[in-house]
């Protein structure tokens, strides 16, 4: 609208770059995004980097007030030499190893089933599958923590009366338990992505396959699945980045079991540093390390998946 009400002189000025209205309109439309991006993303990152280079130093017994000193990369060295922080990456890797294939596998199977289902049932299933995703992550984790806790969970007691003793919150089971929560929460979302891609698979290709004698299963595995590789790549990217940020589920479960420590994954380590140990510079350093890793990983994943496509 503003373009229309411009005065003639302004129009002249605007035409001078010869490029037409594209650049300016684009700037106008992009400005709000970059404004918010700058304030909510770039500025905090810059602030965190600044924060991570300093440390509070007290002296003697510590009651003479604290002094802020420049320590360079000292905080990074402290963070990286912390066994619990580094150990968190091990747990995170294990989680990814279990979570990513399970989630994508489940989502792909469900999407293929949806695609093969009759039109009317499809809507209902789509909604049902997506429903868990509408539950906020914290609530989901709380519900599951309740369902896992022996003594209060109807589920666990039912299993027990059936002669099956499982402690979902034990040291060995807590990781799969956590994966289960995340899959429950995210499967529906990924099904939608994959299902949308499946809708775009040319029907004539499927018809050709059918004429050649491929059944539903064969068509799904040999035709549909390979054709939605790009969508799978996107889902993979989101899932990997999402798992790097793993926080809610372990944080909630840590109140129900000691198998999840307060520094269980790197994000929790940073949280603990900031809010329990009151060491903001170390928390900033840990967060920057995580951000760099997430950036590197998403670069690798996008490169890998786009190569796979070409």
């Amino acid at each position: 609208m503003t373009v229309r009400t411009d005065s003639p002189t302004q129009r002249v000025v605007r035409r001078r770059p010869i490029r037409g209205t594209g650049g300016r309109t684009a700037t106008l439309f992009l400005a709000p995004f970059f404004g918010v991006f700058l304030v909510s993303m770039i500025a905090p990152v810059v602030y965190a980097i600044g924060l991570s280079l300093f440390a509070e130093r007290r002296s003697g017994l510590g009651f003479g007030g604290a002094e802020r000193v420049f320590v360079g990369l000292g905080n990074y060295a402290d963070v990286l030499s912390s066994d619990t922080f580094v150990g968190g990456f091990g747990r995170l890797a294990l989680y990814c190893l279990l979570y990513v294939p399970t989630l994508l596998g489940v989502a792909l199977v469900l999407a293929l089933l949806l695609d093969a289902a009759v039109a009317r049932a499809r809507r209902a299933f789509q909604l049902l599958l997506f429903l868990p995703h509408a539950v906020p992550g914290v609530i989901a984790a709380l519900i599951w923590a309740y369902l896992y806790t022996p003594g209060v969970s109807p589920f666990v007691s039912a299993l027990e009366s059936g002669g099956i003793q499982i402690d979902f919150l034990s040291v060995h089971m807590v990781l799969p338990s956590m994966v289960n929560i995340a899959v429950w929460e995210w499967a529906g979302y990924n099904v939608i992505i994959l299902f949308t891609a499946l809708q775009a698979v040319p029907r004539e290709v499927l018809e050709a396959a059918r004429v050649d004698g491929a059944g539903e299963i064969r068509a799904a595995l040999a035709i549909k699945a390979p054709l939605i590789g790009a969508a799978l790549g996107v889902a993979l990217l989101f899932t990997v980045i999402g798992s790097l940020q793993l926080f809610t589920e372990p944080q909630i479960l840590s109140t129900a079991t000691t198998a999840v420590t307060s520094t269980w994954v790197p994000n929790m380590w940073a949280y603990d540093a900031a809010f329990n140990r009151n060491n903001l510079p170390q928390a900033a350093a840990a967060s920057i390390i995580l951000a760099v890793l997430a950036g590197a990983l998403s670069w690798v994943v996008t490169r890998f998946t786009s190569k796979g496509r070409s």
Binding site: A55, G60, G62, G65, T149, A256, T261
Partner: protein, 431 residues
Amino acid sequence: MSLRRAPLTAAAFLAAGALLAGCTSGSAATPEASEEATGEITFWSSLSGMADVAAAFNASQDDITVTFEEIPNGANGGYTKLSAAIDSGTGPDVVGVEYYRLPGFAAAEQVVPLDELVPAETLGEYGDEVRELVTFGDATYGMPYDAPPLIMWYRQDVLDAAGVDVPTTWDEFEAAARAVRKSDPDAYLTSFFTNEPQLAPLSWQAGGQWFGVEDDHWKVSIDDEASQKVADYWQKLIDEDLVKAQVGFSDEWTADLNNGVVNGWVGGSWSASSLMTRTEAAGQKGKWVAAEPPSWDGEETGALSGGTSFAVTENSENQAAAAAFLEWLTTDPAAVEARGEAGTAYLAYPGLNDVAEKVAPTGYFANDIYGVFDAASSHLVGGWSWGPDFDITNTAMTDSVATAPTLGDALDEMQSATVDGLGQLGLDVTE
């Protein structure tokens, strides 16, 4: 001498009331020089029932208006919120801080010394063991509120069924744990909280001293002999399945209490209200007794389990009013009465526990619980310090108790994590 004059004058103004209130308005901008105790102050605490206390104070006089806000407890981010609020200038005037956390706020200069704000006679009334917990350097940073002794709670009927008395030594405690297991294979005498292990008060009670000052250095000795003895003792009970290692304050624990799976609690005087809320519906009224912690060598010793002090933050622009409220809150019987049975408080200031006993739910228990609290308090071991930054130790404790092979190993990990962490803060530390 101006040290003492300010609060005394403040008290005088409080008494004189509105008559003098208007005369010195404007002095609030320079808190040190402020001689009036009027105006509005804010008060944050995570303790239950404090809203009623603030309301009672407001009703009792007209000069100071207290606005209360409940904050989450430390484990749920209350101190984080407080610390951030003080740093950004939006903190309260008066705040409740547990003893273990007070040194951190004092070291960061987020709370102010009270020696100029509260009469020395008032501070002098406290017992040394408690006074030590709020005194750092030469300054007093908090008014002790409660001094809850470490207390053992048992189901008397379960002990009777197992044919044992309330244990008076730790050897007897182990025998009782064995007897309870034997009389009912599903039952345990008590649980060991893996999330909030009572290792600190138990070590304190055994004569351990995790922190001390030696030649202007913090001496960290979390793995000292007494603490190792405690760790080995509980590890043995856990290994032999004589106590139930579990997450305290969890749904599972509450269910275990109700179902008679767990029949005791290594808690504090504050456990009484909590125990009643959790077990009343299961018809356990009149079945619980309080007892002093068992002794190691026949000589009774005691420790504190938790406890809160109240402090004035550096944000306070009306320190005189804050101090007046602080004093009332921690030393006036009316404050105890107003809180009612919400807390089962065992207070630090002398003479208040008669009132506390009257409002506490003592009828729920089978013995004279305040008598037990008094006895446990009289055996309190002095000299305990929470060190300059116990949060470091706390994180290491919850993590290592969950992951280390034994509690003894956990103590070693806590020791090294604490020494490293304090060193990283630039403090002078020795082992």
